[in-house]
Symmetry: C2
Subunit: 424 residues, 2 copies
């Protein structure tokens, strides 16, 4: 079945906001087995919206719209959906009852505005909005004798995404004969072209599951996707293919396996907490250029408090010296971007917090700060454990900007921590 | 003049990546004075691309495409542009010379692949790609006797954005008779509906400049936009209108004024560094739930090292006690989420770093951790200066998740720091 996405909102055309709804729905729809060939964005203009909706319905079975719902934009998407299917807007009593309960509970009167929320095309399925105001809808109709569906979702991602998860996903699952499931293998320390070269035979040979490499900012993600009659079978096929990937040369670089989008996005932190947690180890940080980014990323994950104790942000040399105990002699001679300083910072963080593993980073994020022999992107890492202190240097070169150098530094620090935990 | 954006790439249709190119170009085009009514995304399919290009050219004067350039996708966008204008692809000697110089400099041979980069529609203007491989193009042609232009840009944002800034902006400026400039006033401590209510008379009265409110995550942004014959006049009109906004009740909530996208995105940090910097003050942090986010956001801004000394990430109670000196008696009685703990943390950070202003945060980010009388979202703030320690509590309620509570906490901490600097 063909699905098309139509995003409504002048703020999108003006580039005020980035269209994350479009990417979210596209990803979910692909995972559910729908093919998608077009995505369109129009503004809050009834005529152009109607035209775009007609065009989309001429080439797709299902059109998912975002935006244009609610009183502030005069419900233009709801009106367009009704018009394109030649349906009347009728009162949906169940929506009114739901609203009446809500208003009596908060002790406020219902207004005219709210009554219009109860109007929907005849026969529409209502998706109640627990995260905002305007309900979503699914409308079925006919265009030139062919059955078509329009799913209307609110624009704000904080409403669109959970409504899709809770209401639209089951709705679409019922329409789709097959199930698609994926898992990701995360590789660190190897480039995308090298990984692709190793996996090419597997990629070319395998039609279902498919194996696809994606270059992340600091990692390569190998996505294995299987299509089957049910979820269990699809996941089982994915795991079998993941084992085959791990059995290649690329397997040595796999540091994490994830299934859901949250874990995939935070694979480094999720893995760190998992490897530390299962060994009962604690973690601390001493950060200069990253200035707290490593700690913040670690704490993105609920439950991190059982592993992450905290750390020192030693952005200035004075804090390196006075809090972490980096000798003034080191700072005055080789300076803060040095092996000696990185080692002292890691040891200092370990001593102050009592953590099993303390990682330090000190380097030049740019744009200024380069010294002779130390260009922008030079970063020293320290890892202190009961067995001693490991140090290494990375040069994040090429077209790397300040923000990117800091992010690559944070990622590498987490990888070093993971390795240290495994060796303890 | 009407401009339309056409993004090419199957990875966009699959939701693999979010379409930031589209938002970027839309924002820039709007600022340059072009009207935009449609944005479309298609996959790497020559037929659908040609169809989409034709549709776009039927309703816009200029079509800007992203993606589909380069050998890996067989230059489908370049070929489609040539076909839609009925132009031949010809060799552009200047491109070949440029490539030959590049290859002799790196000591590598040019390949067949690279020669195809020298092909472009007759008469095309070449935009050299200093940030990647495939050059961009601008092609002029005729559709039904009307002059049309297609601007082709590479897909990766790290190439698309700088190429737009350096090559496309001047190209488009030459076509646009007017200049549009904006500035943003950032408000904190007032909701969007209240701000809108105060500014409605101004918004309704003013056609040029326009005044538009946007709800940010922790702030309200009032964007003032003026259209004029040149940049100086447009900016002058913006500033005069900004003064009128500041003169209303809403003016009391203005904490920053920004012009460029980077500053607008980082207004809190930019303002903090500015207010501290001009007074020669230094800043330190003691972070629990934010775990380094405040430090990291502050250090996003180049030059922050002259203001931000660093801080302590006291994610665990042990670090609060052992490093910051929060009394065990406090932790055992009222606990870490308390006025007493926040005060002690801020004082500890100030003592350890010697900073003029130290801000602390301690609270419950969720999803777990709630206690009787302290629901998820309860956060205590401390601000220590030579004049004493200020404390306050915020309850970030409603539908707030862990990530949002931490971000709102970081923002409020920065606002408290800014206020403290102004009072010193």
């Amino acid at each position: 079945m063909i699905l098309e996405i139509l995003c409504v909102g002048t703020e999108l055309l003006l580039g005020e906001i980035v269209n994350t709804d479009g990417a979210f729905i596209a990803r979910e729809a692909a995972a559910l087995g729908f093919s998608s060939y077009h995505q369109t964005t129009v503004g809050d203009n009834p005529e152009r919206l109607l035209e775009a909706l007609r065009l989309a319905l001429s080439r797709a079975d299902i059109v998912v719209t975002t935006g244009g719902l609610g009183p502030t934009c005069d419900d233009i998407t709801k009106n367009a959906a009704a018009e394109v299917f030649g349906k009347k807007l009728v009162f949906h009593d169940e929506v009114r009852e739901d609203l009446e309960k809500f208003f009596s509970r908060v002790g406020r009167p219902m207004t005219e505005n709210n009554l219009s929320q109860c109007l929907a095309p005849e026969g529409a399925e209502i998706f109640y909005n627990k995260w905002g105001t305007a309900p979503g809808l699914a409308v079925t109709g006919e265009i030139d004798g062919r059955s078509k569906r329009i799913i209307l979702l609110p624009g704000p991602p904080s409403e669109c995404e959970p409504m899709f998860e809770e209401c639209v996903k089951p709705y679409l699952r019922a329409l789709s004969p097959e199930v698609i499931r994926s898992l990701n293998l995360h590789l660190y320390g190897i480039g995308e072209s090298s990984a692709e070269a190793i996996l090419r035979p597997l990629m070319e040979e395998s039609v279902n599951p498919t194996v696809a490499p994606y270059a992340g900012e600091f990692e390569v993600r190998i996505r294995v996707t299987a299509k089957a009659a049910d979820e269990e079978e699809a996941l089982s096929m994915c795991r079998a293919m993941a084992d085959r990937v791990r059995a290649t040369e690329a397997g040595a670089y796999v540091y994490a396996e994830t299934g859901d989008p949250f874990s995939a996005k935070n694979a480094a932190a999720v893995t760190l907490l998992s490897e530390f947690g299962k060994r009962g180890l604690t973690f601390a940080t001493a950060e200069s250029l990253t200035a707290g980014m490593i700690g913040s990323l670690t704490a993105d994950i609920p439950g991190s408090s059982s592993v992450y104790l905290g750390g020192i942000i030693s952005y200035s040399n004075s804090v390196k010296r006075d809090v972490l105990g980096v000798p003034a002699a080191v700072l005055d001679s080789v300076g803060p971007v040095s092996e000696e300083c990185a080692a002292a910072m890691a040891q200092g963080a370990r001593r102050l917090t009592g953590a099993d593993v303390a990682v330090s980073v000190t380097g030049i994020a740019g744009p200024g700060g380069a010294e002779p022999g130390k260009p922008v992107g030079t970063v020293w890492f320290g890892v202190a454990t009961k067995n001693g202190t490991h140090t290494e240097m990375r040069l994040f070169g090429g077209k790397k900007d300040r923000a990117k150098i800091r992010r690559l530094t944070a990622a590498h620090a987490m990888m070093l921590a993971i390795r240290a935990a495994k060796e303890l």
